[in-house]
């Protein structure tokens, strides 16, 4: 652990660690095989109030800083990043409403989450991934309502969310300026949840298609102004990138912890493999990348706490950390040798879990484009 933690942060980290290690960890291997996470396991986190961390105090939440929230999620991700992202994604959806919605919308959203519910963020469509401006879903005004139609894909929490923040075109001709955001109750008639995605990793996290077929929502459920949805989504995603990065830090730390322990125990050529320089180099590089990633995440979180929009820093953080995580987890498997490749040992899962961090919340290629665009703008 590399940061200067406050007493409060230390106490919260210890609390979450205690819960996650005792109540979640024993089931992770089996649930990873099955590709699911039962509600009873989420109950531990709800009881602790992990769904309230980022909800502002005026809406009954804990109103914790981004910095401390990230530390808590890193701890959870050490045990399972898929479990953690279920809560992180709820906040991705929430952030849109808190940052751009009315106080009434904020309260409505916070009240439903506060009862012990998840939310989902529905932007991606089959033909609109890296290029969300190309989305085809529509919202058509009908009296005081809008009628929503869309097929959304890869929606984290699709099946378990009580609320969606969804993105639809209110003006199909206006490109990204024609996109508007809506809060949608998951039980609204016309919503169909698709099959749970059979994923490579993050298998405790629920991912589904969500189809909206003539779903009627009141005009008051529009978040922000008509046509502001794209900007609003990007603003919220900028703040969310360092949060997925914090999960990748958790995965890396776990990989490092497991690897050092194993390297001290495993003997070849008459000595523990940690005594071999090439193993030492791998371990040292893993530690370097993990520490640097954590510090980067922490700095970005603190910028966010100070009101920065972290347009460039969010992308830098997510890209650097998720790229580091590939090497760190791959080397963990290397240090475990053949055992690392076996599902009997915990490290192959870490390698599977961390791949998606280079893909979602904007693929790393797209992040690099964003960083370069920001640089271009800065140096004008």
């Amino acid at each position: 652990m590399s940061l200067l933690y406050t007493e409060e942060q230390k106490a919260l980290i210890a609390l979450v660690k205690d819960m996650a290690e005792n109540e979640i960890k024993p089931y992770v291997q089996e649930l990873d095989e099955k590709g699911e996470c039962p509600g009873e396991l989420f109950k531990w986190a709800f009881d602790m109030g992990l769904h309230m961390l980022e909800i502002p105090e005026e809406f009954g939440g804990t109103g914790l800083s981004y910095e401390t929230t990230a530390m808590i999620f890193e701890e959870l991700a050490k045990v399972d990043a898929g479990y953690a992202i279920t809560f992180v994604t709820t906040f991705v959806a929430l952030r849109n409403v808190i940052l751009s919605g009315t106080p009434e919308q904020g309260k409505y959203f916070a009240d439903i989450i506060g009862k012990g519910n998840f939310a989902a963020f529905a932007l991606t469509e089959p033909n609109a991934g890296s290029d969300p401006a190309a989305l085809r879903g529509t919202a058509v005004k009908d009296g005081d309502d809008y009628i929503l139609n869309a097929t959304k894909t890869f929606i984290t929490n699709g099946e378990i969310a009580a609320l969606f923040v969804g993105f639809f075109k209110t003006d199909v001709k206006a490109g990204h300026k024609g996109i508007s955001a809506f809060i949608i109750d998951a039980d609204a008639p016309g919503i169909t949840i698709g099959q749970h995605e059979n994923k490579m990793g993050l298998r405790l996290s629920n991912t589904t298609d969500v189809t909206f077929e003539n779903v009627r929502v009141p005009a008051s459920s529009m978040v922000g102004a008509e046509g502001s949805g794209f900007k609003l989504a990007l603003n919220a995603l900028n703040l969310s990138r360092a949060f997925v990065a914090t999960l990748a830090v958790g995965i890396m730390q776990r990989a490092l912890d497991e690897s050092v322990k194993y390297a001290k125990e495993r003997k070849q050529f008459g000595k523990p493999i940690i005594k071999f320089q090439m193993v030492q180099q791998m371990l040292a590089d893993m530690a370097i990348k993990t520490e640097a990633s954590r510090v980067l995440v922490n700095n970005t979180m603190r910028m966010m706490d100070n009101g920065s929009l972290v347009r460039k820093e969010g992308s830098i953080t997510k890209t650097f950390v998720s790229d580091c995580a590939q090497e760190v987890t791959s080397n963990a498997v290397q240090i475990f040798g053949g055992y690392g490749y076996s599902k009997e040992y915990p490290v192959e899962k870490l390698m599977r879990d961390c791949k998606v961090f280079q893909i979602f919340e904007g693929a790393n290629q797209i992040q690099r484009m964003t960083i370069a665009n920001e640089l271009d703008r800065e140096y004008k």
Binding site: E7, E8, A11, L12, L15, D18, M19, W44, D47, M48, G49, L50, M52, L53, T62, L64, I72
Partner: protein, 262 residues
């Protein structure tokens, strides 16, 4: 319903070191935790409060750092916490400790239910909580599995060697909890944050005017520790070769009978 829980801060280790001269526990350098059974007692108290409403007070006698344990109790859901601390209390044995705690309970009370752990994992005597009941002149039920309140009575299931005993008793009552009583909850994030900021009042000798000071501290403690030692672990193992399972079983039976295990 008013409930008080006695919690003790203990070193987080089963490998306790003993001061060779003072014959007391060396607490320095060992991380401290809430005595695990006291967590069960606190959980029971919070459940009673949730079921019958009321409030939960926690008290601990010990040095200033025992406040960490009281904060933990607050983070789990206790309403109020007091540290019982005074130089005059130092060196108290179980008799003196329980006497002091009984005076604190009288001062803070009246309480309907007093809860404690079945024993502390360091001192391990299991005497303090029952002795508190003696000092207060109330009934006590140790090793409870469950507890229900019915007006001014309670019905308690107790673990005993032969099975489970169901006992009814009048309130106020003192009960001690074990691992089997319940599964203690985790603190909430909000509870944890609030507990770190909470004010914890100290209760000192000056706050307990009707205390008989000949019964407290080292001087008031009838117990003298003559010597403390870690017993040597002796175990021997005898392997029986199985030629005929039936015959070997008979030999094994004979050996166990000889060792008075059967």
């Amino acid at each position: 319903m008013n409930i008080v829980v006695c919690v003790k801060q203990v070193p987080d280790t089963t490998e306790i070191k003993i001061d060779p001269i003072k014959k007391t526990l060396i607490r320095q350098g060992v991380p401290s935790i809430m005595n695990p059974f006291d967590k069960n007692a606190l959980e029971e108290a919070i459940q009673l409060k949730e079921q019958y409403s009321g409030s939960v007070t926690v008290i601990s006698m010990g040095p200033e750092q025992a406040k960490a344990t009281l904060r933990e109790a607050l983070s789990m859901g206790a309403d109020k916490a007091y540290l019982v601390t005074d130089r005059a209390f130092g060196g108290s044995d179980t008799y003196a400790t329980s006497y002091i705690l009984s005076k604190v309970i009288e001062k803070l009370g009246p309480f309907d239910v007093i809860l404690g752990g079945k024993q502390a994992i360091d001192g391990d005597t299991g005497q303090t909580a029952p002795s508190i009941a003696e000092h207060l002149g109330i009934a006590r039920l140790t090793h409870i599995r469950s507890m229900k309140i019915d007006g001014n009575k309670c019905v308690v299931e107790r673990e005993i060697e032969e099975g489970i005993e169901i006992v009814e008793a009048k309130l106020p009552i003192l009960c001690t909890a074990t691992k089997e009583t319940n599964k203690p909850r985790y603190a909430t994030i909000k509870g944890k944050i609030d507990s770190l900021k909470a004010d914890i009042e100290n209760i000192t000798l000056a706050d307990l005017p009707n205390m008989d000071i000949t019964k407290i501290g080292l001087k008031g403690s009838p117990t003298r520790v003559k010597s403390t030692f870690i017993p040597e672990r002796k175990s021997s193992c005898e392997m029986l070769e199985i030629v005929n399972p039936r015959e070997t079983a008979k030999v094994l039976f004979g050996k166990l009978a000889e060792a008075k295990i059967l």
